[in-house]
């Protein structure tokens, strides 16, 4: 287009460029409706979590959090995340590398498989493991005989969480690496680098922001997963309860403050995730855009 520097057609500043923007009245009304919708459906639920958590005061809030079962729920949640997120990162990197850097038959099939957990109800994600390892399954008796506990124990929870969260990192990395192409890697190889060096010094810096986003989302989901974990966990207090499950238990016992107190921790995590994501986009937006396609 001609004159890129001068011809900035910004409808906001150019009052009379009424060609391509709505009348002021229409704009105000549309914004009002949009904001009202967001306030009711997004903001209010968030606010009420914290309001209910502190409804009986700060002291009561911390009492609940210090409760033994709550502490073990927190510990379990952190443990599960600490195992599943790195596993999924490794998978995400491997899958993205294979898909983005090579041309091979069946690629579309692979990508569809990776998207699978998104289309599957979390309950079904847990169900499949019950069918696989449960008492009535083929493996069930064998496991029992050898004293291996998968269901209603930590391994089962980890498995279900891995199932539900593994697309996050891969989905973030695959389009990113596809856009970046193989140019940089081929250049590194021609200069004598081997595969690992190429990956470490060339690929990794290029994808670091996408990787970070993927990890943030994967982690948020891993800590917050409810349906799948609920099915496999057995709800044994103090042992196989993650934080979301603990929230359910407290709520069903009419311990509103308790439930919301634990919920507020998770909500806080969600907010931190969003804030981090936004801050990263703001400060490194240019860098991110630069690594996207070059």
């Amino acid at each position: 287009m001609a004159d890129p520097v001068i011809e900035i057609h910004d409808p906001e500043h150019d009052v009379a460029s009424a060609a391509i923007t709505e009348s002021r009245a229409a704009r105000v009304m549309l914004m009002a409706v949009a904001f009202a919708f967001l306030a009711v459906f997004l903001v209010l639920p968030l606010v009420i979590v914290f309001q209910q958590a502190f409804a009986k005061g700060v002291a009561a809030y911390f009492t609940v959090l210090g409760d033994r079962d709550t502490v073990s729920a927190i510990r379990l949640t952190l443990l599960v995340a600490a195992i599943s997120v790195p596993l999924n990162v490794v998978f995400g990197l491997a899958a993205a590398w294979a898909i983005a850097k090579f041309e091979f038959k069946g690629k579309a099939f692979l990508t569809t498989l990776i998207d699978l957990p998104f289309s599957v109800s979390p309950v079904i994600s847990g169900l499949v493991y019950v069918l696989l390892f449960g008492a009535q399954s083929a493996l069930g008796p064998w496991l029992k005989a050898h004293g291996v506990e998968i269901l209603f124990a930590v391994p089962g929870i980890v498995l279900a969480t891995v199932f539900v969260t593994f697309p996050f990192v891969a989905r973030e990395l695959i389009p990113l690496m596809q856009e970046q192409g193989t140019g940089d890697e081929e250049a590194a190889l021609s200069l004598g680098a081997n595969g690992w060096q190429t990956f470490r010094y060339v690929t990794l810096p290029n994808i670091k922001w996408g990787l970070l986003y993927g990890v943030l989302l994967c982690n948020a989901r891993a800590m917050g997963e409810f349906g799948a974990v609920s099915v496999v966990s057995g709800h044994i207090r103090g042992q196989t309860n993650t934080m979301p499950l603990h929230v359910e238990i407290l709520y069903n016992e009419y311990n509103a403050v308790g439930a919301f107190a634990v919920a507020s921790l998770l909500a806080g995590l969600a907010l931190v995730t969003l804030v981090l994501k936004t801050v990263l986009e703001m400060r490194y937006g240019a860098e991110i855009a630069a690594t996207r396609g070059h």
């Binding site: 209010l44 491997a94 109800s121 696989l132 009535q136 891995v162 081929e186 609920s230 929230v247």
Partner: protein, 283 residues
């Protein structure tokens, strides 16, 4: 690496100097097989083992049918609501400048980041008869909590980002020249939006709808608190699966899950076909 002569014929993979194909593909496939394929085939095998007669009996049980209806019906309504408001939100976020735009934009991702159980109890408390929103609605004679309407509210929360995030990039890509062309040809702002811009957004809106719908059908954590879970009234299919599991009625759980999966795949297929048709026609 020597440059081997290229051979004609069927090849699985195009030759490339980049290393690591075997390792990465191998690892990915093993991972996928262990985590997804084996468990899913377990499900498929189990439901096949049921035999048609039993399968049909379970699936046509009135409680099952109602549960599926509730799940799909509420998801449909919620997805439609999200299409309307989600498109509006996407438009406002992309086209208008206002203070705090970045914050609002980040907030749209909240349902992605917030655990479903937290959303569930928060929404229930909000819409309960004595809740902040529940009370004024009760005064108007509208009961939300413990009814299918409550399920819809929860699913609207869950599905919103799907529509907004799918439509936003398309709105960003709108060619300003096309809008200007329509104006020079005499179209009013309304005519431009409805006749010229909207057809371009339709595929993205449909995709967003499908994603929100698929997510809503399978949603569990945010729904079971607010639904009331009354069988045949506000009981969703995933909950019925859990109930059957707790009854150790594995066949029933399996059958219902199989039906849900089949319908979800069908939807994805339709969406993919729609998208490639649109791409071929309109470029």
């Amino acid at each position: 690496m020597t440059a081997a002569p290229v051979q004609a014929g069927w090849r699985f993979k195009q030759p490339s100097v980049v290393p690591g194909f075997g390792l990465t593909l191998g690892f990915s496939l093993v991972y996928l097989t262990l985590i997804i394929l084996i468990p899913l085939s377990g499900l498929a095998w189990r439901s096949a083992a049921l035999g048609w007669a039993d399968f049909w009996r379970i699936v046509s049980d009135p409680r099952t049918v109602r549960a599926l209806q509730v799940s799909f019906g509420t998801a449909l309504v919620a997805a439609l609501v999200n299409v309307a408001f989600g498109t509006l939100v996407a438009w406002v976020l992309v086209r208008y400048r206002f203070p705090g735009r970045r914050i609002v934009d980040a907030m749209v991702d909240l349902p992605f980041a917030l655990p479903t159980a937290v959303a569930g109890i928060a929404l229930t408390t909000l819409y309960a008869p004595n809740g902040w929103l529940g009370r004024p609605l009760m005064a108007l004679g509208i009961k939300v909590a413990y009814t299918p309407l409550g399920i819809v509210m929860a699913l609207v929360f869950i599905g919103l980002p799907f529509v907004v995030r799918t439509v936003e990039p398309i709105i960003e890509e709108i060619d300003k020249e096309v809008e200007e062309a329509a104006a020079t040809l005499g179209a009013s702002r309304f005519q431009t939006i409805t006749r010229v811009l909207f057809p371009g957004l339709a595929p993205a809106i449909v995709t967003g709808f499908a994603l929100a719908f698929a997510r809503g059908v399978g949603e569990y954590g945010s729904v079971i608190f607010i639904a009331g879970n009354l069988p045949k009234i506000s009981e969703i299919a995933p909950l019925l699966i859990v109930i059957r599991l707790e009854e150790f009625n594995y066949p029933a759980a399996t059958a219902i899950a199989a039906v849900m999966l089949a319908l979800a795949f069908l939807m994805l297929l339709v969406i993919n076909l729609l998208q490639s048709w649109s791409r071929r026609r309109y470029g």
